[in-house]
């Protein structure tokens, strides 16, 4: 297990390097929220989820919905490293004609299940997938990653209500609670706390973890799989921009890519010597 955790931590570091490189190249995209989510995304794509990069349409696969679609770079680097498409494609993020669109587009990118980007809509789609997969029988699970600012969207709570009503125990939501949004601290813009408590009151099983502790992430994902009769939410306390010291905890790096001056310093932070 310790080996697994160490491997995953190293993979997350590799993915952080590619996030920073990719965004520097595109000069457009969402740095902070991609870096805060990547540990959970690493755990999902490289350990927890059953999926096949050679067969993105494999019927029995688990499904992942990046509800906070602006963190697309985090999903894209994971898909690239997993083998869904060549790593070089990352250099074409957000370019005209690229299959790597600004926000996840199921029509363009292998491995992307639905189109997200408009906050608050992904969890509903995850619900639909969970219902459909249950009708099909089989053991497929659905993972939905949301932002904490995203919880301000009312539709999230419609979906939360429905997930509990329909006892979607094949659904696991994760909240990347990095406490920041575009206009500043979530608590100051429109407070959403207490997050776990809210989900519990909607009928969910709720866990709270450190979203950068790989062992805790894995344990939470394993635990979620044992919960019957209700969906599970993993509320992950995270740091926006995690991994690059001068990006950390800054709302200003929400939608701003690393500059030419920042890139080498960011790579150094991530232990990349190239």
């Amino acid at each position: 297990m310790k080996e697994t955790i160490a491997k995953l931590e190293d993979k997350a570091r590799e993915l952080r390097i590619d996030i920073v490189r990719t965004l520097h190249k595109s000069q457009s995209g969402h740095t902070g929220g991609s870096l805060s989510a990547i540990d959970m995304i690493t755990a999902l794509y490289f350990h927890k989820m059953r999926h096949d990069p050679e067969d993105p349409a494999w019927e029995e696969r688990d499904r992942f919905v990046l509800c906070k679609g602006h963190a697309a770079p985090a999903q894209y680097v994971a898909l690239a490293h997993a083998g869904y498409f060549p790593r070089e494609d990352l250099m074409m993020l957000r370019r005209l004609g690229s299959h790597l669109q600004g926000h996840p587009d199921s029509k363009s990118t292998p491995g992307v299940e639905v189109c997200t980007g408009s906050l608050g809509q992904g969890l509903s789609m995850a619900n639909g997938m969970a219902l459909g997969l249950r009708l099909n029988g089989g053991a497929s699970r659905v993972y939905a990653l949301l932002g904490d600012g995203e919880l301000q969207e009312g539709q999230v709570w419609e979906a939360a209500m429905a997930a509990a009503h329909y006892k979607m125990d094949n659904l696991c939501a994760l909240v990347d609670a990095n406490s920041l949004q575009i206009d500043g601290e979530v608590a100051k813009v429109m407070g959403v706390a207490p997050i776990a408590h809210k989900f519990k009151s909607f009928g969910w099983h709720a866990l709270e973890i450190d979203g950068h502790d790989m062992a805790a992430i894995l344990a939470a994902l394993d635990h979620a799989q044992t919960v019957k009769g209700q969906p599970t939410v993993i509320v992950a306390n995270t740091v926006k921009g995690k991994g690059v010291s001068f990006f950390e905890n800054k709302a200003s790096y929400h939608g701003v890519p690393p500059s030419d001056e920042e890139l080498p310093k960011a790579l150094e932070c991530l232990g990349c010597m190239e």
Binding site: S124, G128, L131, A162
Partner: protein, 314 residues
């Protein structure tokens, strides 16, 4: 005398039939299954019916998710809530990914009646038409509704089918071959063309008979598929008759009239008069009264025809 059938009843029956033919078909509703008639499907296939409660945005996204795992979801509620409230969900979760979701909304237009303006959608055709990848169909009667629902089930991609509340006269025979994107000439004519959709086609046919008495030969072209529009039949009508009246139970902004005017304006400008709701909200009343109140009867089409003919002559 023709039979009277509510298009929503035809939908409910057809959906229940289709459920037996295709195990992937599922249905969703927002607490209105008794009105939309998805209740018939729900009774036969309870495990494939999902009442989402009064939460239309979530319902639309849930349908998209079901489609993403291979189901064929039919999503229903009243028109204003289906594509009004859940417009952005339709746009982002259904249209943008080209999800195989069939939005079948009932209670379109003012004939919703006593519930009044909040429930009478006068804008739905316009706001769906403007979204890429959406196919928009407004059937005229029970026969066409059954065919359109079946066609939608068999065609991959997002659909918006707009039905009404009340019984309407059956104008198509059992030999009618419905085709997505194809209009239907209901009556020949040479002086002008009435291009109509939904329940207004029955009014258009009545108007043509009245006009005949005045010595005016009015062609009637029924357009069920507003998008993609059958440009051929409309262009032919404009070129051959030289004047057009459009008729819909919808605002004159952006619906069938908008679509026809946009197209003819570029291809064959002729005098046009759009008959519909003149940029107003609906109001409470009996359905028949409201059609008269909003100027949506055969006599209103006759007046519009006279007006457009006078512009044609001058």
């Amino acid at each position: 005398m023709s039979t009277m059938v509510a298009t929503r009843d035809a939908y409910g029956e057809t959906l229940a039939e289709l459920g037996g033919e295709n195990a992937e078909i599922v249905a969703l509703d927002a607490d209105l299954s008794g009105s939309t008639k998805t209740s018939l499907f729900a009774k036969k296939f309870p495990e494939r019916f999902f009442n989402m409660g009064i939460a239309e945005a979530n319902m639309m996204g849930t349908a998209a998710g079901l489609a993403a795992v291979g189901k064929v979801p039919f999503v229903s509620t009243f028109a204003i809530f289906a594509v009004g409230r859940a417009w952005e969900q339709m746009r982002q979760s259904v249209a943008y990914p080209k999800a195989n979701v069939k939005i079948v909304a009932t209670h379109g237009g003012v004939t919703v009646g006593e519930d009044g303006g909040s429930h009478q959608s006068v804008e739905d055709i316009a706001i769906v038409r403007a979204v890429p990848n959406m196919t928009v169909i407004v059937p005229a009667d029970g026969v066409e509704t059954k065919a359109a629902i079946r066609a939608a089930a068999n065609h991959k991609g997002p659909f918006y089918i707009r039905l009404g509340r009340n019984k309407v006269p059956t104008i198509f025979g059992d030999d009618y071959r419905f085709e997505i994107g194809k209009g239907c000439q209901m009556a020949p004519g040479s002086d002008l063309t009435i291009v109509s959709t939904g329940l207004m086609t029955a009014q258009a046919l009545a108007a043509a008979k009245l006009l005949q008495k005045e010595g005016v030969s009015a062609r009637v072209v029924h357009i069920a598929t507003i998008k993609p529009l059958d440009q051929e039949i409309i262009l032919e009508a404009a070129m051959e008759t030289g004047a057009v009246v459009t008729a819909e139970e919808h605002s004159v902004i952006g619906g069938l009239g908008g679509a026809v005017a946009e197209f003819l304006g570029e291809s064959c400008p002729v005098p046009i008069k759009r008959v519909g709701i003149r940029d107003r909200f609906g109001t409470s009343g009996k359905a028949e009264e409201l059609l008269k109140y909003f100027g949506l009867l055969a006599e209103d089409l006759v007046e519009a025809a006279r007006e457009v003919l006078s512009r044609k002559r001058s």
